[in-house]
Subunit: 546 residues, 2 copies
């Protein structure tokens, strides 16, 4: 069995940042993690330095069982975090050892188990259809078995706050059953999410005083207060806080890990992450949104792209004089940045800054800066997005600086034919006609399992003989967004489409963008930029037009 | 001058719900209200029953000046709310009567003025470049003039919490200058948004005790706690709360009106809106998102479409028994509704509940429940997503119950040709071959600005002669997601594509789903479901196969 305590934070085991993105977060409408996604999420969370990663419910969900199996087989090496399996107590009228669900928790080989138990008498009687005594026995038996097998156990006391209000004795008896049997933390859950901070403070303080148990907190966001409730619980004595990345979770979601951690570190001065980790909050938040395939919340506390954005007006001029008067903290501390929206000067300044970041010196090219700024503004207004497509932006900048065309071919035409035949088989075929750098004309046809795949294959067939480096380049990700640019614009299949294409080669990976009303043409534009960038990186600039 | 007190709530003037969507909310990145928009927003807010509507800053913003002029000219009749103009105190070294900005406040004819004043000594000295005495004189003079002219005045004490912590005496002197001169409410503003609930409670309690003034609260959301901070301030004695619709505002935004009101009414039992108004929260939130041209936040407290959506199989079975155990309140009370999400996590109970929600009775069809549950799990594992595609799910259920095929045609084949010609023009052409319900074969060809648009047009051309109701149906939204479903599956343009298609007809709107490695085929599958559902809704089930 691996270690059961988090590593690397100054507070060690005395304070737990417990992430449940992979279990409770996955309940969010619209999230459907693959096992590969789950492993990737866990790696990001571990790199950030959370103490515990709840990976899922082995036995109940096949994907979760596989996740734990692959983690145990060595696919997941955790530097800071400890892996946790979630499960419920044994069923009524059965021993814990006989319960297949409890067996699955042990089989998962997770060194820590979070055990969910009912602590509201109404739920015990009406949902579980048993009595308080048997419920407590179920808790105690299951904790005992897990402890005997060497697991560390946290108790998730479901519906605790509602239950405590309705019948405090029952709620406390459930905690006691678990803690006496060897659980380490009694996690008070606001499962229905109806609490407010002062109520949380009162109950946490009272339960701590009455029991002396180590307490944790788990809040849902149904009153829009999950972050505040969690932080308040910590101020009232909880030393274990359960959160999810970006607040993902059922209904309105859970407490957002990044806001909770941001508040604990910067407002309460609690070093709950390893040194230097705070600066990774923004990057981690966006990476996890990407894996969940959910657009990042631009107005999210600490990590949103608008979180430190000031609109022209009352504050704008004063910020120039004294930025610290107008931000609650330095955005750089959480890996974010201040933005002023959006003057021509700010535009030029950010273009220059971005060029420096990309290794280009635009300082001596004022006309190029103007041209790039203008083009970016025009294209962004039409739906392009360069903030996620550095490679396309770099090509634009190089072109404005007078560098010659980098695409190793000129397009004459392409044609894609998609057929759904009478036999139900769907075929995609693409033909491209291009003129190569040496003046030769090439025609190539290829099939693919979709129009863009076929186009990519045909283009490669046409170019590979003269561009052998192309075999090193592959498309690694492809994203499509449908945009409705104006209010009165019609939606539907005639909307504008934005394609982001990620390519990987020996020089790493790069992202390009294309926008068009036709999804295939938008993909083509991104594909051409991807190859131009590949040409630049894989064998230096091409001198097609010189 | 019109009345200065809100009308219609049981609490009357003793508690103020003060909305600043049109002033502070408009600072949100991406919002740009026209004057017509502002009038529409004010009408929605008044209909909901807020006490005060801050319309903008006349004199400083031309649109705001026009808004107040048109309101005064009779374009805005308010039943519940009082209109408020926002502005700042006179400048240093000038009388209030001479100050054009103060003049503009009077010219606006708004019966109430919110006056913003610095209450943090650092801001007084470093941003305003004056001293505390002159700052207090500016406040007192301006309040006096406004009172002499018959206006009611609220003081927005900017940066109050930071200022009070840094130098409490200065902060209190500013409040005193305003209140002694005749202001009604001293609004404590957490302008930089760095506060947490317990800190808010402490300061509000202390200031109330030291001054006896009527206090208000204005919170920004930089710690993710604006709603909780606002409600906590009310619990600590504030009787005036400033919010914005959907939490719109600069940076991370302001306290969300709907969450604050939802909490005050349902958690603290304070009747802060007129009778019956609570049930309008959801509708109002969505209408105001529409005007702001911002997609509604699906996970927003109380009003989000996911706010009462349950996914987990664990909960779904219990919800069937006793819904009130799994919601913090009855969603109907705020004009929202409970939804059960059918996903791979779903068990039979979720499928049955969902069927009831869709108006189908699966209770007597155990085999159909099994078949639907199995199909949903299989398809979701392959990338389908039914939780957002009720129409596809309903078709699946009807089919499992033995209802005949609803599609009013059988597909023979389709072909799509996309050409990017030598002239750079991109053309999409689709041909469909279908057999109609009466056995006739139809071929139709159409162009579109993309492959799906062309297919949709060709299919309509083939079907409209026999399905005239089709002219009432249009595609209203189209979403594409690229999925990587399996462990070793490659990414790139050969990944699986999921299409969600929203259609609108006389029967409302409905969403269907299609999944395939080919984006066009995936779209086709969603399109066929959309038409099948339309056939069902627009003219009842078809008996093609019977």
């Amino acid at each position: 069995m691996s270690r059961t305590e988090p590593a690397g934070t100054p507070l060690g085991d005395t304070f737990h940042v417990f992430d449940t993105t992979l279990r409770d977060g996955a309940q969010r409408e619209g999230i459907s993690y693959s096992v590969a996604d789950k492993l990737a999420v866990a790696r990001h969370l571990d790199a950030l330095g959370v103490g515990f990663i709840e990976g899922g419910w082995p036995g109940a969900m096949p994907k979760d069982t596989e996740f734990f199996a692959r983690a145990a087989a060595g696919e997941l090496e955790l530097r800071h975090a400890v892996l946790v399996a979630f499960g419920s107590t044994r069923r009524a009228g059965r021993t814990a050892a006989e319960d297949p669900q409890v067996r699955a928790l042990l089989d998962s080989q997770a060194p820590v188990v979070t055990l969910v138990a009912k602590s509201d008498r109404r739920h015990i009687e009406r949902a579980l259809r048993t009595d308080v005594a048997e419920n407590c026995a179920m808790v105690a038996d299951t904790v005992s078995l897990l402890r005997t097998e060497g697991r560390r156990v946290f108790l998730d006391a479901e519906h605790f706050f509602d239950g405590y209000k309705f019948d405090p004795d029952t709620a406390l008896r459930v905690l006691e059953a678990a803690m006496t049997a060897g659980a380490d933390v009694a996690v008070l859950c606001d499962t229905n999410g109806g609490m407010l901070p002062l109520g949380i403070a009162e109950v946490v303080t009272e339960v701590a005083a009455r029991t002396g148990f180590r307490l944790g907190i788990h809040c849902q966001d149904d009153t829009g207060s999950a972050v505040a409730n969690s932080v308040t619980a910590v101020q009232a004595g909880a030393t274990h806080v359960q959160c999810t990345a970006n607040g993902y979770g059922e209904r309105t979601g859970n407490a957002d890990l990044f806001a909770v951690v941001g508040n604990l570190v910067t407002k309460l001065g609690m070093p709950v992450l390893p040194d230097g980790a705070l600066g990774e909050l923004t990057r981690t938040s966006h990476a996890l949104a990407e894996i969940a395939n959910i657009a990042p919340d631009t107005h999210q506390a600490y990590v949103g792209t608008s979180a430190f954005a000031h609109k022209a007006g009352l504050h704008a001029s004063a910020i120039k004089v004294d930025p610290e008067l107008y931000n609650h903290m330095d955005p750089v501390d959480v890996g974010n940045g201040q933005r002023v929206l959006v003057t021509e000067m700010a535009g030029r300044a950010s273009v220059e800054l971005k060029a420096t970041e990309l290794g280009l010196d635009l300082a001596g090219h004022p006309d190029a800066v103007s041209a790039v700024t203008r083009t970016v503004k025009e294209r962004e207004a039409a739906g392009w997005s360069f903030e996620a497509a550095d490679a396309s932006l770099e090509l634009l900048m190089r072109s404005a600086m007078g560098e010659v065309e980098q695409v190793p071919f000129a397009l004459e035409s392409y044609r894609v034919i998609l057929e759904h035949g009478t036999d139900g088989v769907v075929v995609s075929e693409a033909t491209v006609r291009v003129v190569l750098a040496d003046g030769r004309r090439q025609i190539a046809t290829a099939e693919g399992n979709g129009p863009v795949n076929a186009l990519d294959a045909a283009l490669r067939a046409a170019l590979t003989p003269t561009c052998p480096w192309l075999s090193e380049v592959e498309l690694s990700d492809y994203k499509v967004r449908i945009l409705t640019t104006g209010r009165s614009e019609s939606f539907g299949t005639d909307a504008v489409t934005r394609v982001l294409l990620e390519s990987t080669g020996t020089a790493g990976s790069w992202t390009t963008v294309g926008v068009h009303s036709n999804v295939v043409e938008a993909s083509w534009l991104a594909l051409v930029d991807a190859l131009a960038y590949a040409a630049l990186r894989e064998r230096g600039p091409v001198t097609l037009n010189s």
